[in-house]
Subunit: 137 residues, 2 copies
DNA sequence: GTGTCTGCAAACGATTTGCAAATTA
DNA sequence: TAATTTGCAAATCGTTTGCAGACAC
């Protein structure tokens, strides 16, 4: 399954000096097309039917490469599995405790600087919210 | 290693209808005495010398029981490992990217209710912050 | 004695690594 | 042809489970 954003996918990869192999384009294209914050396994399962020779190892390696160069961000909202998001902006993630769906709910929450202890420097923040989504309430 | 808060430890366990076995008292006492947000493995390593027959399984089972009944909270600030905190208040955790230490930095951040999507109900929030602590800056 | 608790060993699931074959420049 | 990339199989690591013996009421 090839993303409809082939040109954009290629451009983004080249911007990061990543060779746009078929596998890498498929993984990044999937993340661009699907805002479901999938796990590596979910991405593999989704792509596998149309790319039978794709291996899970390649999906894992590719995602790590993407995270390392800042092309995608990883989301730790549940222990034991990493999720991935092509939207690298600092936003809040909402996990529905009933259906398990993950949504982007709002832009970054600002930390009151006076509340950060003396001498601490902040590089990254991540806020997760759990509850019920509008479909499950 | 027995906590100096033996009476408090016993009381807290009984409040939750948990039988205060030696192992459980040791694990909860360790969390009360050490605010380092240890992993199960760290707790096991710390207790093991003075409790040679303690098994890691028991530490894991005990911690899960504590979390299930709300006696301690688990902290997911890093993928692949759970950390534990005897302070069950909703506060922000700070992880130093240099030394790896985890600190409590401030009380809960309030989410502006108008920013939560229509029809979503919020049950829990968790904010994590990464940066350098005052010792590592 | 009956039910709970403990702890060993094995199972498990997500992720990483070693390495050789395949692909690309 | 040299360098990169892929993908299988095996390893790793944190955690859970099965189960038998030990312990508590």
């Amino acid at each position: 399954m090839v993303s409809e954003n082939t040109a954009l996918v290629t451009q983004r990869l080249l911007e990061k000096n990543i060779r746009p192999s078929l596998q890498r384009m498929a993984v990044y294209g999937y993340l661009l097309d699907n805002h479901t914050h999938p796990t590596a396994d979910a991405i593999y399962s989704a792509l596998s039917p149309s790319m039978p020779t794709l291996s899970k190892t390649t999906v894992y390696n590719t995602l790590r490469q993407f995270v390392d160069c800042g092309l995608v961000q990883s989301v730790t909202i549940e222990d034991g599995e990493l999720r991935y998001d092509a939207d690298t902006s600092n936003h809040v993630h909402f996990k529905c405790v009933k259906c398990g769906g993950i949504y982007d709910v709002m832009e970054k929450i600002e930390l009151p600087p006076e509340k950060i202890p003396q001498g601490f420097s902040v590089e990254k923040t991540q806020t997760n919210v759990w509850g019920k989504c509008s479909l499950c309430c």
